[in-house]
């Protein structure tokens, strides 16, 4: 086992982990505020990737040739905006009416599953009807697929950009949560929703902001996922979303830093185990849930150890 092999695994783990982290942040934010597993969050990520694909298609007149950086960033930016809008819409259309009616938790979870399935089947129909099949290749500027070689270690530019971007975004989210007024409002909401309402804050606006923020991060996560695997399909969000949720629980759900730590742990596990034990490669998809079950057995509050009933974020 030489050092360059290990280094290679570490870099790959970082790259995969940061994608899980981006999606896990969204789960943890919504869970902190509403105590709801937003099942649709993984599909929001899929929507982000698909919208980026569609905008890229529109901007390049469906040729996907010579994509320049500015075109790509415009498409991704538009996708982030529209994905946030869709995220807020899911809250307004599907969750808010039930919350207003004080519906039992199980109704909210079923609605979340309904939204998830709706987005999947809707984009499945769109892809089948307009793009001629569920699976589509994802195109991006060539600069991202350049490979840097240091000794025996090959590093695609992409695997550096994604983790760096994730850490920057984590910094941004933490800044919003701890240094801005809306951040204080979000943390207060997570602490006690009734008191926040009594204080005259518009809880709906704050929750909508949480959904927008989570969806924007999910869109970025979705685009990075699509770039790494260079393909998209309507059902890609489900498994990734579940794994990201598992990562959020491992890190301590309710904690943003915990979500990022959990995401990186999961990324390393998924890269390292097949790397060092190739015969376990086929089992990759099961690791996240085995990890989840172990965490639930031994430390249900996760690594950051947030106590659900008291403190959050």
């Amino acid at each position: 086992m030489d050092i360059s092999f290990i280094l290679q695994q570490v870099i790959n783990g970082f790259s995969l982990g940061s994608m899980y982290a981006l999606i896990a942040i969204g789960y943890t934010l919504v869970y902190g505020v509403l105590r709801l597993i937003n099942f649709a969050h993984g599909d929001i990520m899929m929507v982000g990737a698909f919208l980026a694909f569609i905008f890229l298609g529109i901007l390049t007149e469906w040729k996907f040739e010579h994509i320049t950086m500015s075109v790509f960033l415009t498409a991704v930016g538009l996708s982030i905006i529209f994905t946030s809008i869709i995220g807020v819409l899911t809250y307004v259309v599907a969750y808010k009416p039930l919350l207003d009616k004080n519906a039992p938790k199980i109704s909210l979870l079923i609605t979340a599953i309904g939204i998830s399935f709706f987005l999947e089947s809707l984009f499945n129909v769109i892809a089948n009807q307009y793009f001629g099949g569920s699976y589509q290749s994802f195109y991006f500027p060539e600069i991202f697929s350049k490979i840097i070689k240091i000794g025996n270690v090959t590093i695609p530019v992409l695997t550096i950009i994604v983790p760096v971007l994730t850490l920057l975004l984590l910094g941004l989210v933490l800044y919003i949560l701890y240094k801005t007024k809306i951040g204080i409002a979000i943390r207060a909401l997570a602490f006690d929703i009734q008191t926040v309402k009594l204080m005259g804050a518009d809880s709906n606006k704050i929750i909508a902001f949480v959904f927008a923020l989570g969806s924007a991060l999910a869109a970025i996560g979705g685009v990075s996922y699509a770039m790494v695997y260079p393909s998209i399909d309507p059902y890609m969000g489900m498994l990734v979303g579940l794994k990201a949720f598992a990562a959020a629980v491992v890190g301590g759900i309710g904690s943003v830093t915990g979500a990022v730590i959990g995401g990186f742990i999961l990324g390393f596990v998924e890269v390292a185990i097949p790397g060092f034990f190739p015969e376990l490669g086929g089992w990759k998809d099961a690791f996240a849930f085995i990890l989840l079950i172990f965490v639930l057995l031994f430390k249900p509050t996760g690594i950051m150890g947030i106590d659900f009933e008291r403190q959050r974020f």
């Binding site: 099942f39 979870l109 609605t111 086929g282 057995l297």
Partner: protein
């Protein structure tokens, strides 16, 4: 007459009458209806088994779980492995030769095969319940959803047990229309008796207020685990029937789609209602058959024309509308005869 106030004798008499009528229907219906109708009907019976047992954990105990596809897969594979003869298995396992235990195990009796399938599913449920029910919260949903993926990964990656992605075929077709109906009837009666027993009341108390039932001395962990295992047992049995009636199984048959269908069924019927689950099955499966043209690209009426996958869009919108505007479903958590009784009381003044 209220079914809950009946004496034991009257209750058995009622069950005997229902059984006799249903058996007569099972005997006569193949002679009246077309083969297509009979296929749809036996599918409905299997889904009634699945829906009623799924309702036990989701509706009656109030623990949101997304497990059916996993346990149905377990039941289907266990039944198939038990009922295929060693020679046939030797021939069928192409990707890897079967493990000696898997190859030699052979229980041609469908009754025992189904029971064992159920027990295996229930034991798997026990191992899942242990980490999940120790903590409060909605972990059950995510663990069971992930469990479906684990089962699929397992089935694909252990060709010496499950023949990998090739799946198994030529499974003995013991599950005729008549026997599926009989198993369905037995399941419904058994689960009805569980729901309206001491355990059933404890399950409902867990659903309505877990803290209060803990304070009343109900061991909520035990009750939740029992409900989950019972549910898994019957889903395993249903899976065995499904394997036998289709004849061939593969890992891709047991996707989340199956769970989603069952979820719509029990939500439509009313979470917690047995008769609701049965009614929901009939309506949803009937509706799926009726909406089949939507998936067919050559079908069109005016501007609307079929697109593959459109049917599931319609069904997910249906689920959303149900949750938003008619959260209690058709029957709420009551049974159909509770409404009959109410009407009578109104008539009597």
């Amino acid at each position: 007459m209220n079914i809950k106030e009946m004496s034991a004798k009257e209750y058995f008499f009622l069950i005997a009458i229902i059984t006799a009528f249903f058996l007569a229907f099972l005997y006569i219906s193949p002679k009246i209806f077309s083969d297509y109708t009979i296929t749809v009907l036996s599918n409905i019976y299997i889904f009634i088994i699945l829906a009623v047992s799924y309702n036990l954990i989701n509706g009656v105990t109030g623990q949101f779980s997304l497990e059916p596809n996993g346990f149905v897969a377990i039941g289907a594979y266990v039944t198939a492995i038990l009922m295929l003869s060693p020679e046939l298995k030797e021939e069928m396992y192409m990707l890897a030769s079967p493990l000696p235990l898997i190859r030699d195990i052979f229980i041609p009796n469908p009754f025992f095969a189904l029971i064992i399938s159920g027990i295996v599913a229930a034991l798997v449920a026990l191992t899942l319940a242990f980490p999940v029910f120790r903590v409060r919260g909605d972990y059950l949903a995510i663990v069971t959803l992930g469990f479906g993926f684990i089962i699929r990964t397992f089935l694909i990656n252990t060709p010496e047990i499950s023949n990998g992605s090739m799946g198994l075929d030529s499974i003995p077709g013991f599950a005729s229309y008549f026997w599926i109906g009989v198993v369905c009837l037995v399941t419904v009666i058994l689960i009805y008796n569980i729901v309206y027993s001491k355990f059933g009341r404890a399950m409902k108390s867990v659903r309505d207020d877990e803290d209060a039932s803990l304070a009343m001395g109900v061991n909520t962990f035990k009750i939740k685990t029992i409900a989950f295992m019972t549910s898994a047992f019957f889903e395993g049995v249903g899976g065995g029937l499904l394997a036998s009636s289709i004849g061939s199984i593969s890992p891709d048959q047991f996707t989340f789609m199956l769970t989603f269908q069952l979820l719509i069924i029990i939500v439509l019927g009313g979470l917690g209602s047995m008769s609701g689950a049965i009614l929901g099955t009939i309506l949803v499966l009937g509706g799926m058959e009726a909406l089949r043209p939507l998936d067919d690209a050559s079908w069109s009426i005016g501007l609307i024309h079929g697109i593959p996958g459109l049917r599931m869009v319609v069904f997910s919108i249906l689920l959303l509308l149900l949750m938003l505007f008619a959260r209690r479903g058709l029957l709420g958590d009551k049974e159909i005869w509770d409404y009959v009784k109410l009407k009578k009381r109104i008539n009597n003044g």
